[in-house]
Structures are given as C-alpha cells and as structure tokens.
C-alpha cells in the first residue's frame, strides 16, 4: 500500500475530527456497503468557512483525505472551497496509491455536499452553484 508520510501523518493525527453541533451545513457521502462514509460539518460566516469538522468510516486514505480536505477549505470562501478538487487533495498528501484515488473523490464530494446543504438551508437551490454530486465511480461496481 505504501502511503506517503503526509498521508500517514493525517491518518494518525487527523485534523478537525468531530462534529459541529450548530453547523450551517452538513454533508454525507459514500455508502457503508463499500466501506466508506464521510460526513462533513461546516460553519459559515458571510461567505467564509470559519470552521469545518469531519467524521469518517473508511480506510487510511479516507481518513487522511478527509483531514486534508478540511484543512484546505478552512478559512476559505465558499467559492474557493468549491474549486477544491480531489487532485488538489491528493497532491497536498504527496499522492495516493491508484486503488485509493476514489477516497480523495469522496473527500471533494463531502465538502460539496456540505455546501449544498448550507444553500438548501438558506432556501437557495444549490444545483446551479455546486453542480451535481455524482456517485463515486467505484461504487457502481458493487
């Protein structure tokens, strides 16, 4: 498997684990059948994400990508957070083994899903802003 040191660091000491009780948006992606669920909580002030927390059921890469994704969006505007790609998450972690790429996709989608929920709660249709949140490609295999 050979995870990078960064991955192991974020796995062993995940940043921003937990939940935000009075979150402004909560998103959950994945599916227990395939062994991964990510749940993201965001707190928004104006259009800035002031706090973010996650909970993840999944492999080492799932936990590390969740942790890294929260780091990358914390303090950013919603627009900036929406630009976050799974590639950026992977790069920030110094790469992932090929079979684990989908875990980073999950992290990108978890952030988007939380932002979607934030808009929905405000009575705004998130679809034109956030775009569709597609199923994990690997999921179709099951």
């Amino acid at each position: 498997m050979a995870y990078s040191e960064k991955v192991m660091d974020h796995f062993s000491n995940p940043r921003n684990v937990g939940e935000i009780v009075d979150a402004d948006g909560v998103g959950e992606v994945g599916n227990p059948k395939c062994g991964d669920i990510m749940k993201m909580y965001i707190k928004v002030d104006g259009d800035v994400i002031t706090d973010v927390k996650f909970k993840t059921f999944g492999c080492g890469a799932a936990i590390a990508t969740s942790s890294m994704a929260t780091e990358l969006v914390k303090g950013k505007t919603i627009q900036e957070a929406l630009q976050l790609t799974n590639k950026a998450v992977m790069e920030a972690l110094d790469g992932l083994p090929p079979v684990k790429v989908h875990c980073s996709v999950l992290a990108e989608q978890a952030i988007k899903s939380a932002i979607s929920d934030y808009y929905t709660r405000k009575g705004i249709d998130p679809t034109p802003i956030v775009g569709p949140i597609e199923d994990c490609e690997a999921c179709h295999l099951h």
């Binding site: 062993s12 684990v17 062994g35 909970k55 059921f57 492999c59 989908h102 295999l141």
Partner: protein
C-alpha cells in the same frame, strides 16, 4: 523502539533459524544441479530426496507421491487445472468446491469455467463449515473433482475432510484439498482420509517462501502445468530449488513432530485473546469456535473499517491483517466473510489475528492492551458508529 508483535502467521511466518541453517550449505557448497551425475550434484540430490521423504512422512504419503512446486498457489492450479483437463477427455466437466476457498482455487475454477467447465460452489453457512451431505448431493456422474480446503485461511475453520474424503471415495470422484493452512495444526493422513491430491506451502509453518508441494496419489496422471526438463519424474520441470526444498523438509518435520503439544500451547494463548477481545462491545468472532485452527482469531467490530484498524495497530508495533494478505490491494470486502453471511459494512471491519509457536503470552497482553482504545478512537470518528448507536438507543 517499539517491540514488534507479529500476529499475522496465517499470511506468512518467519523462517525458523534451524531451517535457515539447514538450507545454507545448499547455496554455496552443495550447490550442484540434482540432475547431474557428479558428486556435487548427487549431494544436492540427497538433500532433495531426504526432504521429499520428510514431506511424505508428515502427511502419510509415499515419497514418490510428493512433487515440489513453487508454493501453494502453483500446487492448487496444477491439481485443479490438471485433473479438469485430464478428465474432460472422458466427458467429466463438472467441478465442486466451496464458496470460501482461497483465490488460488477459486480463480483456477473461474479460468476453467471460461473454458466451458461447470463449477458448483457449496455454501459454508454461518459457522464457516462445509456440510459433507452437501458434497454428496452435489456429486453428479460427470463430476471430475471435489476441492475443499482443509482449513480456511481467514476464519480458520477446519473442514470435515475425512468425511468428505470418504464420500468422494465411495462415489468414485477425485478429491483435492488445499491444506496450506492446516499443516502442523491438524493431523493429516492422506491415506486414512481418502485424499487424492493435497497442496501445501512452506512459508506457512516457518519454512521458506517460494516452495511448496503437491501430493498426488500414486497412479493419478494428468497434464503438467510446467513442461520442460525431466525433473520431478517428468511432471514438474525446472531446476530444483534445492535450498528451498531442504528448508521445506526441515520445517514440515518440525511442525508435525508434536502437533498436539504445539497446538495446545498456541490455542491457550488464542483462547485468552478471544475472550479478552470479545469484551469490546459490538464485536464478534467469525467462524465456528470449536472447529478452528489453534492460532486463528477473526473478529468484526461494528462501525469501523479494517484497514484503519490495521494501520493503527501497526503504529503500536502489532502486525495483523484484515481479510487475506493477497487481496489487501482491493476494495472489496472479504469473499470469505460474505460467504458466511456477514453484511458488507460489517465484513469491512474484520481483523484477523493469527498466532504461531513463536508468539508469547506477552504478545497477547500487548494486543489486548492496544486494541480496545484503537477501536474506541476509530468509532469516535465514525459516522457509521454514530448511526449504530442512535438506532440502538
């Protein structure tokens, strides 16, 4: 430095120092080709012959019935594909196996399916045991081979091999067993147990990696998997891996010298481990507790995923596994745990701890100390666990 607790002996074992010692002369002194006439070749030949006798003695076979292979996978492939191809000529194109065999068996079967063979996969039920009656019921006039493993590599369940052997003999169907996990743990007698073909692999009982054997009952003929030179009575080509063969012989002799004594010690540690681990809420032991390899313990912990668990155990110096080593690159949950009826989300959270005679009570202590807080920590960050707890309350 953290002390390393190696608790993945079902994946592979350390080579015993006595085995390495037996092998060493064959690298640099007795390095001749055993097929050669001259002295240095004949010395190598003697090493090979002696090891063949050691393997034969360990399972109640004749030395002429033992053929060395590169490991358990090759032995499985050779036996299954070989018998299938030999009997297809007589119109027998039906094979019987179980749903939770090792991939070396299952994928050989799949390759044969593509060639037009028909394969019946027997169920293994919640306890992880094949029912002999199911075997009897599945046998048809065109059945070429029954292949049922002696003991499962993930959940450690020991199959009713003597009963299955008797049924196959009575019905005149050939019987292969993958005994890779069973050697040194269970009394095996191929004659008394009516076994026609048996696979074994050195590195599972403190022998070297890359060497194994197929026992093949006298008189059974089927095509080679590896054609070429006249080695192994013309049935398995390739210059003999002399140090490996000598190591396999030494290791199997040690592992089978006193099976009751060996397993009693391992099982006592294993039982304390099981009792301790099952204190963790919402944990379960997978596979029958009685018909079980002495060293095997396989658990599921609801709400957490296996790989994270392993990585955290590794950080504490504990080497264990989830599923089997050869599938750890894949995203799919263990086919073995699915075969005993576990739902996907639970099958993802399994932990296999496998002990051998090199483990100690201190190893068990270390695992029992490290495991509960890790499970707790992973559950604390698991949204699935959150859901399970909410549903419960």
């Amino acid at each position: 430095m953290t002390r390393i607790v190696y608790a993945d002996n079902a994946a592979t074992t350390s080579t015993a120092p006595s085995v390495v010692k037996a092998m060493l002369p064959y690298f640099t002194e007795l390095y001749g080709n055993p097929s050669s006439l001259y002295t240095v070749g004949q010395e190598a030949r003697e090493g090979v012959d002696h090891a063949r006798q050691q393997v034969a003695d360990a399972i109640g076979a004749l030395s002429s019935e033992i053929f060395f292979t590169s490991g358990g996978s090759e032995a499985d492939n050779w036996a299954i594909k070989g018998i299938a191809h030999a009997l297809a000529a007589k119109g027998k194109k039906h094979l019987i196996t179980s749903a939770f065999e090792h991939h070396a068996v299952l994928h050989s079967m799949e390759a044969l399916q593509k060639e037009g063979f028909e394969v019946t996969l027997l169920p293994v039920y919640e306890n992880g045991l094949v029912k002999p009656q199911d075997v009897a019921d599945a046998i048809r006039p065109d059945t070429a081979l029954v292949s049922i493993m002696y003991a499962n590599n993930e959940i450690g369940t020991i199959q009713p091999i003597p009963e299955i052997g008797a049924i196959c003999r009575e019905k005149g169907v050939l019987f292969h067993t993958d005994a890779v996990q069973a050697i040194g743990m269970v009394d095996i007698d191929v004659k008394a147990q009516n076994i026609d073909l048996l696979s074994l692999s050195g590195h599972k009982f403190h022998g070297p990696k890359g060497i194994g054997a197929l026992y093949c009952r006298r008189g059974l003929r089927f095509p080679n998997l590896i054609d070429g030179g006249a080695q192994e009575l013309n049935r398995r080509a390739g210059t003999e891996n002399v140090p490996g063969i000598v190591g396999l012989g030494a290791a199997i002799q040690e592992a089978t010298a006193d099976i009751p004594g060996r397993t009693a010690r391992i099982q006592a540690m294993r039982d304390r481990l099981i009792d301790g681990v099952l204190q963790i809420p919402r944990s379960r032991l997978n596979g029958d507790r009685q018909h079980r390899l002495a060293g095997n313990a396989n658990f599921c912990f609801e709400g957490i995923e296996g790989e994270s668990l392993l990585l955290m155990l590794d950080a504490k110096g504990i080497a264990a596994s989830s599923g089997s080593a050869c599938t750890s690159g894949s995203l799919d949950p263990s086919h073995v745990l699915l075969a005993i009826g576990l739902p996907h989300e639970i099958a993802h959270g399994s932990l296999r701890i496998s002990l051998s005679d090199v483990n100690t009570e201190e190893d068990v202590d270390a695992i029992l100390e490290a495991l509960p807080p890790i499970v707790e920590r992973l559950r604390a960050m698991s949204p699935l666990w959150e859901r399970i707890v909410q549903n419960q309350s």
